[in-house]
Each structure stands twice: as structure tokens, then as C-alpha cells.
Amino acid sequence: MSSMDVDPVEDVEMTYYGASQNEGSSSRGHWAVIVDDTHPFDLDTYISGYSGRAAIDRLIHIISLSPSLAPQAFRRALELLTAPTQRDPEYYKTILGTYEAATNRHGVRLPPLEELLPDHSPYLAWVEETNERNNAERRKLEVELKTYTGNMIKESIRMAYRDLASFYRTTGSFENSLRHLTKSREFCATTQDMLEMCLSVLELLLEQRSFSHIPTYVFKAESALDSVGTSGHSSTSLGIGQSGAAAKKIDLHQAVEAKLALCSALSHLANGNYAKATHGFLHPMSVLTLTPWAGTIVSVGDIAVYATLCALATLGRTELRARVIESEGLAGEGEGMKELLDAWMASNFRAVLGLLEKFSARHLLDPLLGPHVANLTALIRTRAVVLYFQPFATIRLDRMSAAFGWTVEDTEREVVALIQRGDIHGRVDTQNKILRARSTNHRAQLYAHALKAGAEMQSATNKLLLRLQLQQANLVVRKTQPPPAPTATAGASEHAEQ
């Protein structure tokens, strides 16, 4: 536990150890992620997978969680913010606020804001300028919308709403953006438009990490996709055409299905439903099918990490082999994930746990994966212990702890928890520190079970027959049941007390 990747000031040992499902998410934000040599995290590599708002968003997340990376992330965020494509002046305040909050946090020492940013004036000028530009554009778009509404041109109205929504999105006004997208729905003439609207909403929801509405829009999009059918629309309107010649080969269906699978998977992940999330993540997807989301909303490398971890935590060995190792999905492509899978398939569980530990900082700093790292790790550990013990009839706990790199006490605690949850069929010999598999006499057990089941069935039948007779005789309780025989009750209770 000494090499734990968490701030020692906080009581996080329990968080990490307890396999409890809610622990991870509830304690998020209460502790800082420490990045050091044993828990490497390359900010530049990580952030290069994202661009624009997604990158800034993740940098803000890192500022709030990792003291050692905060100054670097802060500078990067300001750099990205003033790039020509960005026009959200609100973000400036957010970045400053997050950094300040991080410096104020208990037990954390950070260079003060003044040191990092001695001169605010260029940024303030930028904010003012951007605000002016934004206002001008908003007025222009609103006038357009008014004109189209006056002319009652359905398609134009839809596009005006769409443009406004996208304007609001880039300026960080999500409620407005969502409202305009929803309004544009009334003016969707074709299912193609409908599909576009749904995907835009999903994009917005993913960016906002508000997962509760995702299933609704995924469902809507699926039905829209069904009715689009194989009519072979050009995919330009969905933004797929831009990515060049290769993209043209990508079928519209494949592209939309991959995006929808990703949305469902992410929403399941957010709800802690890892089995369903795995299913979604293992849907065939690639940079091509995910365009234009790849990079702006999600990074393909990170999805691969989610997929691999979820698969390890929920899939059996054979299923894992068939659906992950031998398939062409994303799983196994992320940073360090190939090694992880190889170690797992080689039953080198110590290496598996070591790799999980090594990448834990990176995983914890991921805004989507972070809250679930503890749960997923616990699930993978459980699976590992169960897999390890499977072939043994008896095993010494010290050998087992060597294989996992734990102390004997840790191993015993882990094993006992697993036995009590019914994951391992065995018993612990605490005196000799041996785990022994239960030897069951299946034949005798079967007979005993059959006899018991028979007796239970018979008793249930008799009770039902008696009930039938009571009802036939109309001996049915009608009013409030009278307290039956109070004297008798008192007598027996007293007797029992003796």
C-alpha cells in the first residue's frame, strides 16, 4: 500500500481497497492524484489526443486533481484558449478559478497564481474582443433566424437553429445550444435531418458529460437510422465526407452505429454498468467511423483504454480471447493496454496489477474513467484471484501473495472477502495459512438436494391444498383479525423467557 497513488493525507486506503461500488465515485475530487516516476503521466502525449474545447476541458480537470501537473496544465490551457478557433471567454474565468481552488486545497503547495500569470492584460483584451465578436455573430444569426421564420422556409429555419446551436456551443452556452437543437427538431423534414439532430445532441451531451439523457437520444437516432435505410444518402451532411477519400468507403450505417455504441457504452460506464459498457466499447469502431468526434469529443486511444479495462473486469477468459484478442476492435490499443492483456492471458497477475498500478495516475486523471478506476481495479483483482485459484485444490497463502505481490494478510483478507461473496469455493486455514478448495461429494449432495426439494414441494402443495379448502369453505379472514388468544400468547412468551 505504500506505493499508493494518492495523497497520504486523505483516508484513501479504504477507497482503493474496498471493492464497494460507490466508493470510487463519491470520493472523487476529495483527493489529489500524485504523478511520479512510478506513476508516469505525460501531459503532452495525453492532451495531443484532443483538440479545442475537449483539450481545455481535460486540462481543467487535471488542474483540479493533480498538484504536480497543475502549473503545466494551467499554461497549456491558456495557450489553447487563445487559439484562433476558440471563442469562449467564460473559460478564462473557469481556468483561473480552478487553479485558485487547487492552490487553496488543504495539504497542497502550488506556486501562486501571480507567479504563473503576472500580466492579465493580454487575456483581458482577448476576452473583450471575443465578447464583441460573439455578440456580433449572435445578432447576425438571430436576424437570419427571424427572416427565415418570417418566410416560413422549413429547411432554412432548421439550418438557422442548427447554426445558432453550434454558435452557442462554441461560446460555452450549453443550455441555449440544447434548446435550439431541440427546437430545430420541429423543422426536420427528413429522417436524415433527424439523425443529424440526434447526433448533435449526443455530441453536446458527451461534451457536457451529462449521461442521463443519452439513452433517449441513442434510441431516437437508432430508429431514425433504421428508416434512413439503405437509400445511400451522401454522408457529407454528417461531417464524414471531409476526412478524405478513405472515408467515402465508410458506410453511413457503420459510422452512425459506432458513434451510438460509443454513446451507450459511455453512459453505461458512467452508471457503473461495466458489463453493458464492455459490450458497447467492443463494437467495431475506428478513427474513421468516429470522425468527426475523434479528437474533438473523445480520443480513440482513451476509448481503447476504457474498452480494455471494462473487458478485463467483466469478461471470462474465453470470451476475452474471442472478443478482444482475436477481434479487430479498439481494445488493446491504448497506452500500455497490450502489455496488460498479454500479462492477463499469460496469467501473470502480478504484472497485471503492477501495470494497473503504474497507469493508475493516467486513468485517474481521465475525466470519464477516473471515477471508476477503483471499481474496475477491484473487479479485475477479484477476477484475477478467482482465476488463479481455479486449478488448485490447496494453496499456501504465502505462495499466492507472492504471485500477486501482496502481503499474506492482504491476501487472506482478499480471499476471505471473495469466499463470503461466493466467488471462490474454498475455506481458509488461518493457523497454517492455507486456502483449501471445497471438496464436495456431488452425488450425496444431489441426493440430499433432491430430497429437500421434494419435501419443500410437498409442504408447499399441502399448504396450497389447505388454502383451497379454506376458500371453498369460505373461511376467509374478513375484518381485522382479532388478537388470537392473548392469554395463550403471554403464557408461551413467559415460558420462552425462562
Partner: protein, 491 residues
């Protein structure tokens, strides 16, 4: 028995308030008319009415019809002088004569029930003594005059105003031992009354226990089959529970109720079923026969219910018994009424949730003591709490092969090693766990192999299953023949 005295019999109904006049219309017997006339002069208009066959037919709905038709028409017998206002004693005199001379149980039963005017008047007559001051019971024999004695005895035991001397216990015992069951079945309501009378009298005398033997005899001899619920069942078990002599109830409780017959026992009420199973459950609990007690409570809790009821007593006791028996609460059958089975928000549910965590169990037991006391469950709760550590140890055997006594104590929540040792030893002795303790204080749990099953056992189980299957098949055929069912299916 000089003359045959038989009457067309109106059924003995559950409500003894039927006006005697209407029943008399079906009668051709002068003697009967004499009696009823002698009681209150009610029959002046009815004595002249001709017998109407339709009345007979509609009135005879019970199984006694066949018996009545087999009887040859009787000759009238000795005629007592009708008096305008006879005293109960004189009427009794007349009655006695009839009882002695009658040889038809059903006829006599209906005569006694219906021709004596209002219920109050009838009971007064039956509970009186003869003009000579003699006890009418002296003149009658339990076996020969079962119906007559039954009527008089039940009236005497339940009467509050009688001038007659108290019935000696020996007489009651004698009657219960020697009465003629077939005859008594012609007047099941009087048997109910007698049973209640015996219990009441014993209670009034402050010796409830004296009622057990006669009630036991009455119950076992009267009932053709102990698996058939009678009205005496609840009276008997209540008496046993009240006198806290639980063992005599065992032979009765050992036979599960499987038949309900309102033709044999027309005055059976739903309370009889509830009280019998509830009180039976309490007795079995007191005798520490928890498995059977659980069955009884479950029958009571899952009784068919129409409309909302408030009775959760049985469900509560069932839960406590299950905690003792299984270490956890089991769900009630699906057909249980939700208002009965829903214990959410009660300390019972809370208890079942934390059981067998010793600390939390104690906390609940202390915090909600009043609730348990109010339900008369505090004694039972004590047993439940006492068993908690045992269940916790049982759980440990599933996880561990060896543990030191101190470790067990830590896991269970007992600090004293000696105390742990005592509990573990007790459990080994009673066979709850298979384990051994060595000198250093480490406990080794053996594998709990399921007991080997012999061929005979399997054969027996198969036979029982086949019997059950036949019962069900027969029942299904019966339902398939049922007119109402067929009509419904056709629609």
C-alpha cells in the same frame, strides 16, 4: 326403547334462532308438538298445520336426510299432560323421557334443538333439574344417550343462571371418554358448546389444566380424522397454552390439518383456523420445535384474506422463529396478503437485516424493546439474540477451516475467550457444527458432508411423491368435472 320415535328432521343449523314454529310444520309427531307447546305456548297455530313435503325437502340439506328417510314412521309415545305454564323442570321431565326412549340421534337432536322455543328458554330447560330435584344426568348413560347428555351437559356447563348443581369433573371426563361419536356428530354445534363449556368451567374453577384430558378425549374421539379441522381444535390448544402444559397438545399438533369440512362442522369459522395455527405455533415454539412452529405460523399468516386486515402477529412471530431456525428471514408464500407480509419499517425487519451481527442485534433489541414487549415477543426475542452468536459462528465455518478461539471471538463480537469456547463447545455438542478444539485453542472445522442417503429413504420419498401426485390428479379430475368450471371454460 319401547317405541321408535323418528321425526322428519330439519337440519341442525348453525344459527339456533330459527323460530320453532316453522320447523314444527314439517312434523307429524304429536309428542314433539306437546313439548314445544309445553315450553312457551308458541305452537298453538302450528300444531294443526299439515305436514308439507316441500318444507321437508327444502329444509333437509345435510347428510342427515338419508338417515331420516331410512327410518320407519314412528308410533306416538307416552304423552305428558300439557300444562299452560310448565316450569322448566317439568319440561325437562318430558324431555328426559324422550331422550331415554329415542333411538334416533338425528331426530332427537333436531327435536332438542328446535322444539324448545327460543334459545334462552331452551338453555334454561336443559340446564335445570327434574321436579324431584334430581340431576337429570344421573339418569342418562353417556354411550346410550349421547345426544341427550350432550345437550344437557353443554347447557349446564355454559349456563350462568342455573340452579342445578355443578357437574362433577368426573362426569364430564366419563362422558368425553365414553360418548358415542357417530351420535354426537348429529349435533356438532353442541359439541363446540360443550368444548367451550369445559374450558370455561375449568377456568372459572381456577384449574385450567383439568380441562385438557376431557378436551383431548372429546377431540380425538369426536373427529373422524385428526387432519380434519374441528371447532374443538382451537379450544383444546388454547387450553393447553393457558395452562402451560404444552406436551399434551403434541399428539394433536403432530397431525397437520389437511381437510376443512363445513358439512361435518357447520359452525367452523375462519377464526378457528387462525387461532388453532397461531396458538399451536406458540406451543411448538415453547417446546423449541421451531421447524414445526414456523409451519404453523406460516399457515396462520398466509390464511386467505378478503379485504385489509391488521393482523401481523403471526408474521412477526414467524420471522423470529425463522431467525432462530435458519439464521435469516425467509419470504412468505406469494399468496400471502401484502398487508400481512409487509414488515418494512418495523423493528422486525431491521432485526432480520442485521442478523446475526451481534452488536447491531443487541442495539435493535434494546432500542425497540417496547415494540417487542407490546407484541408479546420479548421472550422469543431473547432466544433470537442468544442464537445470534451461534449463527455468526456457523457463517465462519463456510469461510474458514481453522480459526483460533480469539479470532472467532473477534469475528462474532464476544471478547471473552472462555465464553467463545463455551458457545463453540455447545454447538459441537448439539451437532450444529462439525468441529474440534485443540489444546492451543484453535478450532478446526470439519467438512459438513451431506448425510448419506439410504435407498429406503429414497424409496419412501418416491412413494410419498407418487401418493401426492395421485391426490393432485384426483383433484384435477374433480375440478374438470365441476359444472361451474366447465361453464367458465366454455365461455
Amino acid at each position: 326403547m319401547t317405541t321408535d320415535h323418528s321425526l322428519p328432521t330439519p337440519p341442525p343449523t348453525a344459527t339456533p334462532t330459527i323460530p320453532s314454529g316453522t320447523a314444527a310444520t314439517a312434523s307429524g309427531s304429536q309428542a314433539a308438538d306437546q313439548v314445544s307447546a309445553a315450553v312457551a305456548g308458541q305452537s298453538t297455530s302450528t300444531s294443526t298445520t299439515a305436514p308439507t313435503p316441500s318444507a321437508t325437502e327444502t329444509a333437509t340439506t345435510t347428510g342427515q336426510q338419508e338417515q331420516q328417510q331410512e327410518q320407519p314412521q314412528p308410533q306416538p309415545q307416552p304423552q305428558p299432560q300439557p300444562q299452560p305454564q310448565p316450569s322448566p323442570a317439568e319440561v325437562l321431565e318430558t324431555l328426559l323421557q324422550q331422550i331415554v326412549t329415542s333411538n334416533s340421534g338425528p331426530a332427537l337432536a333436531s327435536t332438542l334443538l328446535t322444539f324448545l322455543g327460543s334459545p334462552e328458554a331452551r338453555e334454561a330447560v336443559l340446564a335445570s333439574v327434574t321436579p324431584g330435584g334430581a340431576d337429570p344426568l344421573e339418569a342418562l348413560d353417556a354411550a346410550q344417550h349421547t345426544v341427550g347428555v350432550l345437550f344437557i351437559l353443554s347447557a349446564r356447563l355454559t349456563s350462568t343462571t342455573t340452579t342445578a348443581p355443578a357437574v362433577p369433573l368426573a362426569y364430564v371426563q366419563n362422558f368425553c371418554r365414553h360418548f358415542h361419536p357417530e351420535e354426537a356428530r348429529h349435533a356438532p354445534e353442541r359439541v363446540t358448546l360443550l368444548a367451550k363449556g369445559i374450558a370455561q368451567r375449568a377456568e372459572a374453577l381456577g384449574a385450567v389444566g383439568t380441562a385438557i384430558q376431557p378436551l383431548y378425549d372429546l377431540l380425538t374421539r369426536f373427529s373422524p380424522d385428526l387432519s380434519c379441522l374441528t371447532t374443538i381444535h382451537p379450544v383444546f390448544v388454547t387450553t393447553c397454552a393457558a395452562s402451560r402444559s404444552f406436551n399434551p397438545a403434541l399428539p394433536v399438533l403432530a397431525v397437520p390439518i389437511s381437510q376443512i369440512s363445513t358439512t361435518l362442522y357447520p359452525d367452523l369459522r375462519y377464526q378457528d383456523h387462525l387461532i388453532y395455527h397461531y396458538t399451536g405455533g406458540i406451543i411448538l415454539t415453547a417446546l423449541r420445535r421451531y421447524a414445526e412452529a414456523a409451519e404453523f405460523f406460516e399457515l396462520c399468516a398466509s390464511a386467505p384474506v378478503a379485504g385489509p386486515t391488521g393482523g401481523q402477529e403471526a408474521a412477526k412471530k414467524l420471522l423470529l422463529v425463522q431467525l432462530i431456525l435458519h439464521g435469516k428471514a425467509l419470504p412468505l408464500p406469494k399468496y400471502t396478503h401484502p398487508t400481512v407480509s409487509n414488515l418494512k419499517g418495523t423493528p422486525y425487519n431491521a432485526l432480520a437485516k442485521v442478523y446475526p451481527n451481534l452488536e447491531q442485534v443487541h442495539a435493535i433489541a434494546n432500542k425497540d424493546k417496547n415494540a417487542f414487549v407490546a407484541d408479546d415477543n420479548y421472550g422469543l426475542l431473547g432466544l433470537v439474540v442468544e442464537r445470534a452468536s451461534r449463527w455468526a459462528i456457523r457463517k465462519l465455518t463456510e469461510t474458514y477451516l481453522t480459526l483460533s478461539l480469539a479470532e472467532i471471538g473477534r469475528a462474532v463480537g464476544i471478547n471473552d475467550v472462555l465464553e467463545v469456547r463455551k458457545v463453540v463447545l455447545g454447538m459441537i455438542e448439539t451437532g450444529e457444527i462439525a468441529a474440534s478444539i485443540d489444546a492451543s485453542g484453535s478450532v478446526t472445522f470439519a467438512d459438513d458432508e451431506p448425510a448419506a442417503v439410504s435407498k429406503a429413504e429414497i424409496d419412501r420419498a418416491l412413494r410419498v411423491a407418487q401418493e401426492q401426485e395421485q391426490v393432485l390428479r384426483r383433484l384435477e379430475r374433480e375440478i374438470a368435472r365441476n359444472k361451474d368450471y366447465l361453464q367458465k371454460v366454455r365461455l
